[in-house]
Every structure is written in structure tokens, then in C-alpha cells.
């Protein structure tokens, strides 16, 4: 005969007792005390054998069960030999078990509520001390400089608008990085003739209004810097970029060559 025992982490003696009663499919109002008591004691012995921590609380209930069992086995007779009808010795235990089950049901209800509330989110309190005490300085920029920059922006915008009012924009063929590199090296070679070795990045962009054009020039400069034809300086963040000649010499090439993939033999 196989005998399999399952152990749960019981929350206390009542938890164990209720489990045993339910497991034996007994009515809580009619507990077969002797059966349950031996099962209960067997469990405690097993738990002890397995080094589970059996607290005194478990022993108290064990004693209560044994007491009830003995009272049920031995009918009390009075001196005349008549049986005394006293209250069912189990009734107090049943009451306590019912009370315990009642609160266990409440605990289940609370668990459900807790679960439901885990879908509700709240926000922590805002920290508004920043606004109340010292406001931080985010931009250390002179108001005049700021105004000037903004004016410049407005002016540019106005010019662009004026131009686009009178002319229709026709997209020309997009310049390639390779052709731009040729353009840049030619610009430098021409500047050498005049004794100029430093050129503002701005001057290397033929059409400054076109963002694409700016990017092409920028990439071309980067590539030429990597190949050590050019060098660049920038003294402040977002400041003017000055491009100067690098260690390698640049050779003139006709600008009209517009072959893709042609190696730039500068």
C-alpha cells in the first residue's frame, strides 16, 4: 500500500487542522476526533523528523485534541451510574475553527482586493522646492547675444522668404561628397595663391541655405581630415569652425568631372 504525504507550509495549528479535516472530507460540525488526532500527531512527528520547526502552538492544539478524544471515549457516569449528558466536547474547538475559517475567508477577500489594486497606479508627490527656492540658471547667455542671434535668424528667414517669393526653386543635381572634396581642395589651392591658409567652414558651403549642402561639406571636411589633407579648429561649443590645410598636399583637379565612384586623386 502506497502512502504519500504532502506537506504544506502551514500557517499554524489551525491551518493544519482545517486542512486535515477538509482532506478527510469531514464535516466541521462532526469531526471524527480520534482519526483527526492521530493524523495530526503523525504530521507533527513527520515535521519533527524532517527538522521542521514545530512551535509550541502546534503542541497546544495537540494536547487539546487528545483531551477532547479522551473525553469522548470515556462517558462520564455519576455516582448512581447514570450517564451525564454534557455538552459535546468538540463544540468549543468547532467554534474556534469556524472563527478561524471566517477570517481566512476575509484574508482571501483582502488578497483579491490587493490584486485588483495592483492595477491602479498613483503618482508620488511632486518636488516643487526647485520652483519655490532658488531657480536654477539654465542658459548663461547674455540677453544681447541672445537677441542678436534671434535677429539673425529672423533676417535669414526673411531673405529666404523674399527669394522664394520671386523664384521657383528647381532642384539641381545633388552634390556628392567626392565632388565636394574636389571643390574644397580647389578652394584651398586657390587660397594658397593669395597666401590664405585658414578658411571658415562657412565658405566651403556653396549654398548655405541648403541643409543637405552643409552636411555634404561637413562630411567632406571630416573625410579629408581623416586623410590628413585638412585640419579644423573650433574654439567654443557650436562656435565657428575654421578649416586649415593639413599635413598632406592637395593637388588640383578639374571640378567638372562628375563621375560617381571616381577615386579622388587630390
Amino acid at each position: 500500500m502506497s502512502y504519500k504525504v504532502t506537506l504544506r507550509d502551514f500557517e499554524g495549528p489551525f491551518d493544519l487542522l482545517v486542512y486535515l479535516i477538509e482532506n478527510a472530507q469531514m464535516s466541521i460540525y462532526d469531526i471524527r476526533i480520534s482519526e483527526i488526532t492521530s493524523q495530526y500527531l503523525a504530521y507533527i512527528r513527520t515535521m519533527k523528523a524532517l527538522d521542521f520547526n514545530v512551535t509550541s502552538d502546534f503542541m497546544v492544539l495537540a494536547a487539546t485534541l487528545i483531551d477532547i478524544k479522551s473525553r469522548m471515549i470515556l462517558p462520564r457516569n455519576n455516582a448512581a451510574g447514570e450517564m451525564i449528558f454534557e455538552e459535546d466536547p468538540r463544540s468549543e474547538l468547532v467554534e474556534r475553527l469556524l472563527e478561524y475559517k471566517k477570517f481566512r475567508a476575509c484574508a482571501d477577500m483582502l488578497r483579491d482586493r490587493e490584486e485588483k489594486m495592483s492595477y491602479v497606479f498613483e503618482k508620488p508627490q511632486e518636488d516643487i522646492s526647485e520652483y519655490l527656492e532658488q531657480p536654477d540658471i539654465y542658459l548663461s547667455l547674455d540677453i544681447d547675444e541672445f537677441a542678436k542671434a534671434f535677429d539673425l535668424f529672423l533676417l535669414k528667414k526673411k531673405r529666404v522668404e523674399e527669394v522664394s517669393r520671386h523664384y521657383t526653386r528647381i532642384e539641381r543635381e545633388k552634390a556628392s561628397v567626392e565632388s565636394r572634396m574636389r571643390y574644397i581642395s580647389n578652394t584651398f589651392i586657390k587660397a594658397y595663391g593669395r597666401g590664405v591658409r585658414r578658411i571658415s567652414f562657412r565658405e566651403l558651403v556653396p549654398n548655405a541655405a541648403d541643409r543637405y549642402d552643409v552636411v555634404v561639406s561637413f562630411v567632406a571636411v571630416l573625410q579629408m581630415m581623416r586623410d590628413r589633407y585638412l585640419d579644423a579648429e573650433q574654439n567654443s561649443l557650436y562656435g565657428e569652425i575654421t578649416v586649415l590645410a593639413g599635413k598632406r598636399k592637395m593637388k588640383e583637379k578639374p571640378e567638372s568631372e562628375q563621375q560617381e565612384n571616381d577615386q579622388i586623386g587630390i
Binding site: 502512502y3 504519500k4 504525504v5 504532502t6 506537506l7 504544506r8 507550509d9 500557517e11 499554524g12 495549528p13 489551525f14 486542512y19 477538509e22 482532506n23 503523525a42 512527528r45 513527520t46 523528523a49 524532517l50 512551535t55 502552538d57 497546544v60 492544539l61 474556534r96 472563527e99 478561524y100 475559517k101 471566517k102 477570517f103 481566512r104 475567508a105 476575509c106 484574508a107 482571501d108 477577500m109 483582502l110 488578497r111 482586493r113 490587493e114 490584486e115 485588483k116 489594486m117 495592483s118 492595477y119 491602479v120 497606479f121 498613483e122 503618482k123 508620488p124 508627490q125 511632486e126 516643487i128
Partner: protein
């Protein structure tokens, strides 16, 4: 407008905003403030907004609507509070329904000492001390806190369901379920790795 001011205040406050604090800010009576908060709560409900005004005793708080949890979680990972253990929930249930209650009374119902569980609940601010009993030794009385109401979604203690209602539900469930199979907490001893289990048990039977 008072309601509009309360709305802004609740938004910034985040945590439950006490009616008295809010009333003091606007220099109005508590009763008037309470009325405004309740109206605001009603308005949010009627418009079925994604933000809910929830009441916790005499304070109010913005929270999200539970139905939208899925979307919130898809957007970000909100911090989850660790769930309470079975023993913590049992003790909390007893405190909630029997308050003010002593440790001794809780022990008697559960048949086991609850000192450590109470300690944990105090630390989580779910229960608090509510004075002392007149009984021998003047033991400490415990009750639940506003945090308890908030975390379990109750407006006030009056909002707790009647025990008899809970019981009928539980009994109905019990009738259907097989306690042996459905109990997830069951651990067979083999799983835990006690090889000598079978022997021990058969010894006991002899």
C-alpha cells in the same frame, strides 16, 4: 473656482490630499471642501476618465483607472508593491474586522503567535497602535491605517464587506473545488528533496 484649485493641488500632491489641508489653503470650511471633492470625484466618474479620484477616509487622491493597467504597463514598468503573505493577510483581516484588537486576541483566533507578523505590518504602515486595553497587563491595541484602506481600495472601514457576505461566497466556492488538487501551496516532500520521506512515514504508521 474651488474645484479647479483642488484638481491642481491633487495633481501636484500625488499622495492622498487631506480635506482639512486643502480647506485651509483656500480658507474655506472643511464641509465645503469635502463637498467639492465629492463633486469632483463624481464628475470624473461620470465622464469615465482615465484618471479616478479616490477617497480614503477624509482625503482624496488621483489614481489611474484599473482597466487601463495593461496600457500603462506597456508604456513603462511601474513599481510593484510586493504582495503580503498568507499569515500577514490573516492577521490583517483580524485587525481590520476586530479593531481595536490585542495580539492575544489575534493569537487566539489563529492558534499561533503573531508578534512577527504584526511587526511586519507595522513596518509597512498597514496597522498602527491604537492605545492600550484595560485588560491585565494593559496590552497594546492595534488598528488599521489609512494606507491599509488605500492599498486595498476601501473608502473607509465602513466600506469593508460584511463577514457573512464573504463566508457565503467562500462556502459556495468550497463546494466545487477539490482542496487536494487545487492548493498551490502544497509541496510534496519528494520535491523538496527529502529522500527519507516514505520511510519516515511508514515508521510512523507502525
Amino acid at each position: 473656482m474651488i474645484k479647479s484649485a483642488f484638481e491642481s493641488m491633487m495633481f501636484v500632491w500625488g499622495e492622498p490630499l487631506d480635506v482639512k489641508t486643502a480647506a485651509d489653503v483656500l480658507d474655506i470650511s472643511k464641509e465645503e471642501a469635502m463637498e467639492c471633492f465629492l463633486e469632483l470625484k463624481e464628475e470624473y466618474e461620470q465622464e469615465s476618465r482615465g484618471i479616478v479620484v479616490r477617497q480614503i477616509n477624509k482625503s482624496f487622491q488621483f489614481s489611474t483607472k484599473a482597466e487601463n493597467a495593461e496600457y500603462v504597463e506597456r508604456l513603462c514598468t511601474p513599481v510593484k508593491v510586493r504582495r503580503l503573505s498568507q499569515s500577514a493577510l490573516e492577521v490583517l483581516a483580524i485587525v481590520a474586522y476586530r479593531q481595536p484588537v490585542t495580539k492575544g486576541e489575534i493569537d487566539a483566533i489563529r492558534g499561533i503567535k503573531c508578534d512577527r507578523v504584526i511587526e511586519g505590518l507595522l513596518r509597512k504602515n498597514l496597522v498602527c497602535e491604537k492605545g492600550r486595553s484595560e485588560a491585565v497587563g494593559r496590552p497594546i491595541l492595534y488598528g488599521t491605517t489609512d494606507d491599509f484602506l488605500k492599498n486595498f481600495g476601501f473608502t473607509s472601514l465602513k466600506d469593508l464587506p460584511e463577514i457573512t457576505d464573504i463566508e457565503s461566497v467562500i462556502n459556495a466556492e468550497d463546494a466545487e473545488e477539490e482542496p487536494y488538487e487545487s492548493d498551490a501551496r502544497q509541496i510534496t516532500m519528494e520535491e523538496v528533496g527529502y529522500g527519507e520521506t516514505e520511510d519516515t512515514v511508514s515508521e510512523l504508521r507502525d
